[in-house]
């Protein structure tokens, strides 16, 4: 529903990072109350474009940009995000920017707290007014309810599951009274499909109130579902800018990559009947993802999926088994017990883990790609070391580290300037691939992957799933995959367990009806805990 006069227009935006061109002459307009779906491959420059719009300091620090930004017909040049906020632009970043030790309410109303005046104000001025907590809470509750989600305004951010963090961030942006334009950089990446659906509803509501939205997502069906117009970035150029009517997911994917994309083959390898991983009465104390009592078996060579809504405990299972959070119960791998609460022993026990918390646990942001890929293998298995003085010292072998990184940069098609680039400079999706490379480098017999395709584009997603499948087939690697995307689980897994309230609600074959999964997720029906493979 674009109005005649557009709210925002970007004209000829170009940007390079020290000669590495990431945006080239990007031009498009955003109408009032219009939802723009901004899509593109990993590293196409979506986040960078939004950072320019939002006046993020990193842009000025790396040499500024070229082009004009017109807001309400006037040229603007924000020197800091505060200017952008004042001008009515709200942004939800790809990576969280919440204060962990504050509650949802405090985060939502941060810097715009409701104040109560008191006597001291008359003498010393407004700075002496105190927080009006009751009003802040109602404001937060209102913002949350506008999103149509259930979320306790008093819960600490550090104790929230990721999905809730995302809603808190969005609630913070819409709590502003003057917001005209909302930028959402992959807000749904951390959400399950149901949660994403809720978010899409709220986006429609906001748009109806006249707020324009730029929505970035790699889930193309969401884009088609909610956007009015689609802008496709390919290698930093805006290659398409079309109304969404009549466009299919396939069309967008083709524009993004610039060539035909094939659907990935869904041939599963046969897996043996032999039980490889056996988990009995596992509990895990992971904040926001508590596992209460979980038992399941995974066969050798199987790809076992774990799904469920955010906060129900699906993420707790791999985190607990890998020793990252306090856990109890019994687990055995190939008939020998898995040591719980000891990350080092677990890694030595041929197990590896790709964490869902990419920036928190997954990466050494300030170090090179070489380090990121090789570090775990070095520490856990003593690889990439050169013994000197008869093994008295072991020095790191930068040559093999480089080779290793180069190998994975090639096989996973990681977009970077080379193995010496720092991890923080990669785009979100490419960072995800580095996390996978790190785990593959351990050559584990059992691999846990948690949200492996979060934030990566269709092409890369196919590559990642294909790689998982290939490792499964060629090396007989058993894989336990935790994901919020049911479709993804159904496309790759032999069996899928659904976790609800810290317990396994049921295990289904991928061919089961979607409705059946839905029932298990909503806790309506608890299936038999038997195996359906």
């Amino acid at each position: 529903m674009a109005n005649e006069s557009s709210l925002l227009s970007l004209e000829g935006i170009s940007k390079d990072f020290y000669g590495n061109v990431v945006l080239e002459d990007v031009t498009f307009t955003v109408g009032r109350g219009e939802i723009i779906g901004l899509v593109g491959e990993n590293g196409a420059g979506k986040t960078t474009l939004m950072r320019i719009l939002f006046g993020m300091p990193v842009i000025a620090e790396t040499g500024g940009f070229k082009g004009r930004i017109m807001l309400d017909g006037k040229q603007v040049a924000f020197t800091s995000p505060f200017d952008a906020l004042d001008a009515g632009i709200g942004m939800v970043h790809q990576e969280f920017s919440l204060i962990p030790g504050f509650t949802a309410t405090e985060n939502i109303t941060l810097n715009r707290e409701s104040m109560k005046r008191n006597v001291a104000c008359d003498i010393f001025g407004e700075r002496m007014s105190v927080l009006d907590r009751a009003r802040m809470r109602t404001r937060a509750a209102k913002a949350i309810s506008r999103l149509g989600v259930k979320l306790d305004p008093d819960i600490l951010v550090s104790e929230m599951p990721v999905g809730h963090k995302q809603f808190t961030e969005i609630a913070r942006e819409i709590d502003r009274s003057n917001v005209k334009l909302l930028v959402l950089d992959e807000p749904t990446a951390v959400l399950t499909e149901t949660e994403a659906e809720v978010l899409i509803q709220s986006m429609r509501m906001l748009a109806a109130q006249g707020i324009s939205i730029i929505f970035i997502s790699h889930r193309l069906h969401e884009i088609i579902n909610v956007a009015d117009k689609i802008v496709v970035l390919r290698d930093g150029k805006a290659v398409k800018s079309v109304p969404v009517k009549g466009v299919s997911v396939h069309d967008i994917a083709t524009w993004m990559v610039g060539r035909e994309v094939k659907g990935s083959s869904s041939m599963l390898s046969a897996c043996s009947e032999k039980v490889f991983l056996k988990v009995d009465n596992l509990w895990v104390d992971m904040p926001g993802e508590t596992v209460r009592n979980v038992s399941f078996d995974v066969c050798e060579g199987e790809i076992f999926g774990i799904g469920g809504l955010a906060g129900q405990g699906k993420l707790g299972i791999p985190n607990g088994l890998m020793g990252l959070f306090p856990a109890g119960g019994n687990a055995s791998l190939d008939d020998s017990p898995v040591p719980l609460n000891d990350p080092h022993k677990v890694l030595n026990n041929h197990m590896a883990f790709v964490s869902e918390d990419r920036r928190g646990v997954g990466l050494l942001l300030d170090e090179t790609l070489e380090w990121n890929v090789a570090f775990t293998a070095m520490q856990a298995k003593g690889e990439h070391l050169i013994p000197v003085l008869g093994g008295l010292f072991k020095l790191r072998n930068e040559r093999t580290m480089k080779l290793l990184a180069e190998e994975y940069i090639k096989t996973l098609e990681i977009k970077c300037t080379g193995p010496k680039q720092r991890a923080k400079e990669l785009s979100g999706g490419n960072q995800q691939k580095i996390c996978l490379a790190k785990a593959f480098a351990l050559k584990p017999k059992l691999l846990f992957v948690s949200e492996p395709t979060r934030g990566i584009d269709v092409g890369a997603k196919a590559i990642v799933l294909e790689t998982l499948r290939r490792y499964n087939k060629e090396y007989g690697m058993t894989i336990v995959m935790v994901s919020s995307e049911l479709e993804e689980l159904r496309s790759i897994c032999h069996r899928i367990a659904i976790v609800d309230e810290g317990r396994i609600a049921g295990i289904l074959p991928p061919t089961a009806e979607i409705a059946e999964f839905g029932l298990l997720m909503s806790g309506e029906k608890t299936g038999k805990n038997g195996d359906a493979a």
């Binding site: 000669g19 890998m322 080092h344 890694l347 646990v361 997954g362 050494l364 942001l365 520490q379």
Partner: protein, 357 residues
């Protein structure tokens, strides 16, 4: 052109400005009557004298424990080392060696306790470290009086007990490194027949320094050193890779404390005196400012930062007062020293550090 630009951004404007200023001081020195050869000798001596204490800061920075404001703790173990070796009556190379061994012993013990403490105050390391340093120095001020030292060279003459404020190393290992294979260039024989003036290159000292720097370089490249750096970069990542975060942090503190102790031993032999009581109190500050001037941040430091920083910082400290004193004809050296060194800490700590979390 681009390469020059890249070099400047890499090296940093502050360092370039300081280096140019230093160069200007050297150029103007002869005109205000300051002898260049003596100045160079001074700069080299002070560089060697201080650089190991700067080096001592590196492991803790890398492990994410921040700048070791608790360096006095390491210095105290060094003081124990030298005073005990003297008490045992050991002199020359033997004495120096035993002093080092004793320093390593006490450094390990102090470092372990200090490391355990710092593990309990993650995020507040630098503040706590400062207090640890201050309290330890004060505690030892009492101990220096009480410990049963008896050697007349060590104890206070009139009381016969309690250490002197500053103890001469003359009969022990004064300048043992500085004089080892020292090169004299352009010296002249004076009337008494002794060599004087000219530039003296402290070969032994530089060799020892080089050995320490190489040791640290190696250490940071070992499996442990690599793990330590990762702990500093992202403790959660390190833990998920099977590294014990607490152990790595403690190791870094122990290594830092021991090297700090060895640093003061080197300082003493060059300075000629062992200074006890409150002397170690402010020792951490010049070291910290040198490291920061060298371009290190609170979370990343390299050997290059150490060497360049110490050279620039000690160069400034040597040259500024002597040139300015000659110009103003008053003795301002102490005031200038304090302004320069603390000013640099403030500057460096407020400087934006390139850290991502």
């Amino acid at each position: 052109m681009n390469r020059i630009k890249a070099f400047i951004t890499d090296f940093g404007w502050p360092r370039i400005i300081i280096a140019i200023f230093l160069l200007a001081l050297f150029i103007s020195a002869p005109f205000v009557g300051v002898k260049l050869d003596a100045s160079f000798t001074d700069v080299f001596n002070r560089f060697g004298q201080n650089v190991i204490m700067v080096l001592a800061l590196v492991p803790m920075v890398q492990a994410g424990c921040g700048l070791n404001f608790g360096l006095p703790l390491g210095i105290l173990s060094g003081l124990l080392g030298s005073t005990m070796a003297m008490q045992f009556g050991l002199t020359g190379p033997m004495g120096f060696l035993v002093a080092i061994l004793i320093t390593i012993f006490f450094g390990s013990i102090f470092g372990l306790g200090y490391g355990k403490l710092l593990n309990k105050v993650k995020g507040e390391e630098m503040t706590i470290a400062m207090y640890v340093g201050f309290s330890a120095v004060m505690l030892f001020s009492i101990l220096w009086l009480l410990l049963p030292y008896t050697k007349p060279d060590l104890v206070m003459g009139y009381a016969g007990e309690g250490l002197r404020r500053s103890i001469s190393l003359e009969k022990y290992w004064d300048k043992i490194l500085n004089n080892f294979l020292a090169l004299r260039i352009g010296s002249v024989r004076n009337l008494a027949g002794n060599l004087s003036g000219g530039f003296i290159f402290p070969t032994g000292l530089m060799m020892f320094v080089a050995a320490c720097v190489v040791f640290m370089w190696f250490f940071l490249r070992t499996k442990t050193g690599t793990a330590m750096t990762a702990v500093g970069s992202n403790p959660d990542f390190a833990r998920a890779s099977g590294v014990s975060v607490e152990k790595m942090r403690t190791t870094s503190v122990v290594v830092s404390t021991i090297i700090g102790g060895i640093g003061i031993l080197v300082y003493q032999q060059s300075f000629g005196f062992v200074q006890v009581y409150d002397a170690p109190l402010y020792m951490a500050f010049p070291a910290v400012s040198a490291l920061l001037i060298g371009g290190a941040s609170v979370t990343k430091a390299s050997m290059l930062n150490v060497v360049i920083g110490t050279l620039l910082f000690q160069g400034m400290l040597t040259m500024t007062p002597s040139v300015i004193n000659s110009v103003l004809k008053t003795d301002m050296s102490e005031v200038i020293r304090i302004i320069v060194s603390n000013g640099m800490i403030i500057y460096a700590l407020t400087r934006k550090t390139k850290v991502t979390k």
